[in-house]
């Protein structure tokens, strides 16, 4: 119990520091946040400038603005987009759901496929499967989301025509899970490749290492059936380190989703972020960075918890 509380408490100052970084980055950087509204050719009059500054509260000192931002954020109010006045929080929640569908599917494919294949191959070292899959895994770890995405789009959509080239739904078709799946295959699949290969290699390595441990030899010497040794001892201990890297892979998944969403026009947080950042829509950018940081911190926390549960030794360090 103490372990869990400790992990939670460590993350709070980190979260706090993260919010300061986000706010500082946008508001202390060269150039006014207001630049979005200034047309370079036409210029802007003194009165209009001060009107805008008042409206967005930019005439107050930075720390007061920061405090207001945090206070509003805690209430769920992230301000309004510069671009079209939409409520930042509303747009975010909607896009977040879409991204979670994409990321969730990719992560599921990567974990299930990666761990199963890793265990399968680890238990059969030097076999045909070992060499083939390990060889393929090299290609897998060399294909991050944006490379795999472009190739995937070209081969499976443009050339073979098996899957749509973008979007989440087919126009004119009422939303149904099959249509969603049809649109999900390519983006989630290409996003998952790198992680699947990484998890597979890690699990395989872990299995190979565990197989050499003394306690496995003891179990075998005791006469326990091979199958039980494999599952109850080897595999169970091999999975432990994999839990850590699953958590560590989350920032990569978020970043990868950014490219995948751009390539496949998936209406998620990633494409929203790219659009917002390129037009300097700062309320939106801050909102997204906040959400992303929260997701990553939460994921790290969950990984720590999971690790603490799976390996009881950690709890008493």
């Amino acid at each position: 119990m103490q372990y869990f509380i400790r992990r939670l408490l460590i993350n709070i100052p980190v979260l706090f520091a993260v919010t300061i970084v986000i706010y500082g980055l946008i508001n202390l950087a060269p150039g006014d946040p207001i630049d979005f509204f200034v047309n370079e050719e036409v210029g802007i009059s003194r009165e209009d400038l001060s009107f805008l500054e008042e409206q967005f509260g930019l005439n107050e000192p930075v720390y007061i603005r920061y405090a207001k931002w945090i206070r509003n954020a805690l209430r769920g109010d992230l301000g309004f987009r510069f671009k079209n006045g939409d409520d930042v929080a509303e747009v975010l929640v909607q896009r977040l759901q879409h991204t979670l569908i994409l990321m969730g599917s990719a992560l599921a494919i990567a974990i299930i496929g990666g761990v199963l294949l890793g265990v399968f191959v680890g238990l059969r070292q030097y076999s045909f499967w070992d060499f083939t899959l390990t060889g393929l895994s090299f290609i897998g770890i060399s294909m991050p989301a944006f490379i795999a995405g472009i190739f995937g789009l070209y081969i499976f959509s443009v050339q073979l025509g098996w899957f749509p080239s973008g979007g989440m739904r087919t126009v004119g078709v009422p939303p149904n899970p099959f249509d969603l799946l049809y649109h999900l295959v390519l983006p989630a699949g290409t996003l998952a490749i790198l992680q699947l290969a990484t998890f597979m290699r890690y699990t395989r390595f872990s299995v190979l290492e565990v197989k050499q441990a003394d306690y496995i030899r003891t179990a075998q010497a005791k006469g326990i059936k091979a199958r039980l040794v494999t599952w109850r001892h080897t595999v169970r201990n091999a999975i432990l380190p994999v839990v850590t890297i699953i958590g560590l892979s989350l920032p990569t998944l978020v970043a990868g989703a950014l490219f995948t969403e751009t390539i496949y026009s998936w209406p998620g947080m990633g494409s929203l972020f790219v659009d917002a950042v390129l037009v300097r829509d700062y309320p939106m950018v801050m909102g997204i960075m906040l959400v992303v940081a929260l997701v990553v911190l939460l994921a790290n926390l969950l990984t720590d918890f999971a690790y603490g549960m799976v390996d009881p030794r950690i709890r008493f360090e």
Binding site: V14, A17, P30, P144, Q212, F259, V277
Partner: protein, 296 residues
């Protein structure tokens, strides 16, 4: 007995250095050697770009635009008539330059922070580690994209940005190694002889850290090359008309180029893939060669 120590040939008496031993181990990995050869080829191609290209990479030739590969243009031309073969080669120069420089920068920051953190421990360690946590919370692309919109495009900007946000992994690695080596006898001996801290860290502890650091460097180079490609793909990296593998891929964002002009984006895409693949092979080989306890 005729043979004695004095008569044994000189060569078999000479000690083999650890570096040479590592190289011999490295040589035994076929994949690692393949990676080395492939990467060497890519580097050579990029270095000799000005000699092997037939047209200057930025030269427009509007009459010959959007042409498929032909005898006069090995890999065809792009939308404004620039030669793709030439741009791929020169783009390699840019992408590799960015890759190496940014990786070196990230590693330097990481080594210093990690070593200081691991050696001194206590408050310094805690502060540096929390700082590292904060930086690690943001996915690299997200934070680099944001800052890039303020500082603008350009090779130096890209190198500095990537270097500034890629060091956490190295820092943690170095810190871990330094932590475990700190309590060794040779460190205590050096300290009792009055050596300064900086000397202890860099002359005594660091050599033992070099091994995993080298492997980490290869993966850092990969990361940097991919980041540059990604940033240029989104339009905030290397500005046109300078070619880089990433901004050549940017043309593939429009469906007509993707579909009808594959020669425009396939070469840079394949080059990136081969580069990353070969460096991964090398990195794997290095890991095994420098740490023989690895079982695979």
């Amino acid at each position: 007995m005729a043979s004695s120590i004095a008569e044994t040939p000189l060569k078999s008496r000479v000690a083999v250095s650890p570096a040479r031993k590592a190289w011999l181990r490295f040589r035994r990995h076929p994949l690692a050697m393949l990676g080395l050869a492939l990467f060497g080829a890519i580097v050579l191609l990029s270095l000799f770009a000005p000699i092997i290209d037939r047209y200057p990479p930025n030269q427009l030739a509007l009459r010959d635009r959007f042409q498929a590969p032909s005898a006069s243009h090995f890999l065809g031309t792009d939308r404004v008539g620039r030669d793709i073969w030439s741009r791929t080669l020169h783009g390699g120069q840019v992408s590799l330059l960015v890759g190496f420089s940014a990786a070196l920068m990230a590693m330097s920051i990481g080594v210093i922070l990690g070593a200081v953190s691991g050696y001194y421990g206590g408050l310094v360690d805690m502060l540096i580690m929390r700082f590292t946590d904060v930086v690690m919370t943001f996915p690299q692309v997200v934070i680099i994209l944001t800052v890039a919109t303020f500082v603008g495009q350009g090779i130096t900007n890209v190198i500095v940005l990537i270097g500034l946000f890629s060091w956490p992994g190295t820092a943690r690695l170095v810190r871990g190694q330094v932590l475990s080596l700190r309590e060794e006898q040779f460190v205590k001996a050096a300290r009792s002889l009055g050596a300064r801290d900086s000397v202890i860290i860099f002359k005594h502890i660091m050599p033992s850290v070099i091994a995993p650091l080298l492997a980490s460097l290869t993966f850092a180079i990969n990361g940097a090359v991919l980041l540059e490609a990604g940033l240029s793909f989104l339009g905030v990296g290397i500005p046109l008309p300078t070619a880089s593998w990433g901004n050549m891929l940017e043309t593939a964002r429009s469906l007509d180029v993707l579909q009808d002009g594959p020669w425009m984006w396939l070469p840079p895409a394949i080059m990136i893939l081969l580069n990353v693949l070969s460096v991964n092979f090398i990195g794997d080989g290095l890991r095994d060669a420098l740490d023989p306890k690895h079982i695979i």
